[in-house]
């Protein structure tokens, strides 16, 4: 166990250095969420009315926080596929290290990246009018829900990277599922306005639970307990299944 923790730390440090030394990633992780904030705040925001909210920006920022944690994890599919094809994963697998640490380190680094993006989105959001309407514990819990969800999906994307094995395929395979998950949800608009089938999907898929939980915990307009428990439950299930499958795959490449 102590080897697992120390090896995870070593790999996480490597992943963070990689992130910070790759300008494209830094730009993608910072510019892109800011663009979403400004786009939805000023381009679409004027024509979107959400019942119960005086200002669309209060509705929007929890959605963008959830969206960025998903986007943040998706690059892991490419990173994992690259490490596989470059032989770096084989190097790790030939060392007397803890094998689960290989992906644990990479996914924990994804938490750090997401924390950076979430704080950035929150600050930019506050510049354009976003406000918290609850107490500090609820806000911290909201961030926790977002980061846990991002961590779970980082494992899911790592699994996709291991299965697909090449960077181009991994990029495609990770991007395709993101769009329905992010947009067919309560991220930018209420599912109540969507047609029946889509509405059913939107109301029952994990992104909506996460967005609703963060919204409730930061705005206080709706009860937070149910969506928060569902969001945490979804995250733990996704995490457990993805981590189990990814590590099993890592043993038998």
């Amino acid at each position: 166990m102590s080897r697992f923790l120390s090896d995870t730390r070593v790999i996480a440090r490597r992943s963070l250095k990689t992130l910070m030394r790759t300008p494209q990633i830094v730009i993608f992780a910072s510019i892109q969420p800011m663009m979403f904030v400004l786009l939805f705040r000023y381009v679409f925001g004027g024509s979107i009315r959400v019942p119960g909210y005086d200002s669309y920006v209060d509705y929007l920022i929890p959605g963008i926080i959830s969206q960025t944690t998903l986007f943040g994890g998706s690059s892991l599919a490419i990173v994992v596929a690259n490490d596989l094809s470059a032989g770096i994963t084989d190097r790790f697998r030939s060392l007397p290290m803890s094998r689960p640490a290989i992906l644990a380190g990479a996914t924990i680094a994804a938490i750090a990246r997401n924390a950076f993006t979430v704080i950035l989105v929150t600050l930019v959001g506050m510049l354009v009018g976003f406000r918290f309407h609850t107490g500090v514990p609820q806000v911290l819990l909201a961030f926790g829900v977002a980061l846990l969800f991002g961590f779970a999906f980082a494992w899911c994307f790592a699994l996709i990277g291991i299965i697909v094995k090449n960077a181009e395929g991994a990029q495609l395979a990770s991007f395709l599922p993101i769009f329905p998950l992010v947009f067919a949800a309560s991220t930018f608009a209420s599912p109540r306005t969507m047609p029946d089938g889509l509405r059913w999907f939107a109301e029952h898929q994990p992104v909506t639970q996460v967005v609703d939980s963060i919204r409730a915990l930061t705005q206080g307009v709706a009860p937070a307990t149910e969506p928060t428990l569902l969001a945490i439950g979804w995250s733990l299930v996704i995490l457990a299944v993805s981590a189990f499958l990814a590590n099993r795959r890592l043993r038998n490449l």
């Binding site: 080897r3 120390s6 090896d7 070593v10 440090r13 490597r14 250095k17 990689t18 030394r21 790759t22 470059a86 032989g87 770096i88 084989d90 190097r91 790790f92 697998r93 030939s94 060392l95 007397p96 290290m97 038998n252 490449l253």
Partner: protein
């Protein structure tokens, strides 16, 4: 130090290894030689605990790599076909990371990294990002990464493939240096020259099976003498030259259509050369070159398999027994 018995591995329908035995005594170098897809890499990946064999055993320093992979990983170092080092880390960061993943304390990892960098002549480049390194430097760093754990056994999978000749010689010098210090080495290569220069013993593998084993001299001795080589001017005459040379050498002549070369193992150098020249001249066939030379390992490989080595392999059409490159390479 390395003992392999009855190793078998198939990837789906493709048989990569059909029962391979190897022995590498302590402090010696075994060159595992064969064309692309012969199964060399599969052998190394199994010994390196990256693949689990379908049958057979592999022991490194007395440790069964299948039964006790984690302990085996302390005993060997692996340098791969691809330079498995991280481009966005510096050389030093790469090696320190590997050291820490061996379970070394940070200071110890730092010391070992510095030592390996010094030894491989990378001390000056140690704090540069690896993506700025040349191909040869990356391979050296990769070799350095396999040394950080101070393994008794080194496994090298085609360490110089794709390097230019000068860089290759440079890397050979580093490898020779390691071997002098008593490291046991299993080296795969498709370059006969490399096996000849670095290895004490050579095992020739083809289509997942060992077809010969011995010292370079023993293998050359199998041909039983020298080799007469004719380069025919027109491809159409190659088959005729093979016919003409029948009976004057120790074996039948072999032909390589692509290079238009005919090779014949011979015992009596001058006599056979004269006889060959006479027959070719009488038949009125034009040749570019005719000579007798000491056998190279290329000749050995050719006479063992009836096929040439290296990229020639790519040119031959797939036959029933041929392996695809995937997995088995």
């Amino acid at each position: 130090m390395i003992v392999v018995r009855g190793l078998q591995k198939a990837f789906g329908e493709t048989v990569a290894l059909a029962g391979v035995d190897l022995d590498v005594p302590e402090g010696t170098v075994l060159g595992l030689l064969g064309p692309n897809g012969a199964g060399k890499t599969t052998v190394v990946r199994i010994i390196a605990t990256l693949l689990v064999p379908d049958a057979g055993t592999a022991m490194v320093a007395g440790i069964d790599v299948v039964a006790d992979p984690q302990r085996a990983r302390y005993a060997f170092g692996l340098a791969g076909q691809f330079a498995a080092v991280d481009g966005v880390l510096t050389g030093r960061e790469n090696l320190e990371m590997v050291g820490q993943l061996y379970g070394l304390k940070r200071l110890e990892a730092r010391a070992r990294a510095a030592e390996a960098l010094e030894r491989l002549g990378l001390a000056d480049a140690a704090d540069r990002l690896v993506r700025t390194y040349s191909g040869g430097m990356r391979r050296r760093l990769d070799l350095g990464a396999s040394l950080v754990g101070r393994p008794k056994v080194l496994l090298m999978d085609e360490p110089t493939t794709g390097l230019d000749p000068r860089t290759r010689m440079e890397l050979w010098a580093f490898i020779e240096d390691l071997v002098r210090d008593g490291t046991t080495l299993l080296l795969t290569t498709q370059y006969l020259e490399e096996a000849d220069r670095l290895a004490n013993r050579i095992a020739v593998i083809d289509r997942g099976t060992l077809i010969a084993e011995g010292t370079a001299d023993e293998l050359k001795g199998r041909i039983g003498g020298d080799v007469l080589e004719v380069r025919v001017s027109t491809a159409a005459d190659v088959a005729r030259v093979v016919e003409l040379l029948d009976g004057i050498g120790t074996e039948r002549a072999t032909a390589d259509e692509r290079t238009q070369k005919v090779r014949l193992p011979v015992r009596e150098r001058v006599e056979t050369l004269l006889a060959a020249a006479r027959r070719i001249d009488e038949a009125g066939i034009s040749v570019d070159d005719l000579g007798v030379h000491r056998p190279s390992l290329d000749d050995v490989f050719l006479s063992l398999t009836g096929r040439a080595t290296e990229s020639d392999n790519e040119q031959t059409p797939p036959g029933p027994g041929r392996r695809r490159r995937k997995g088995a390479a």
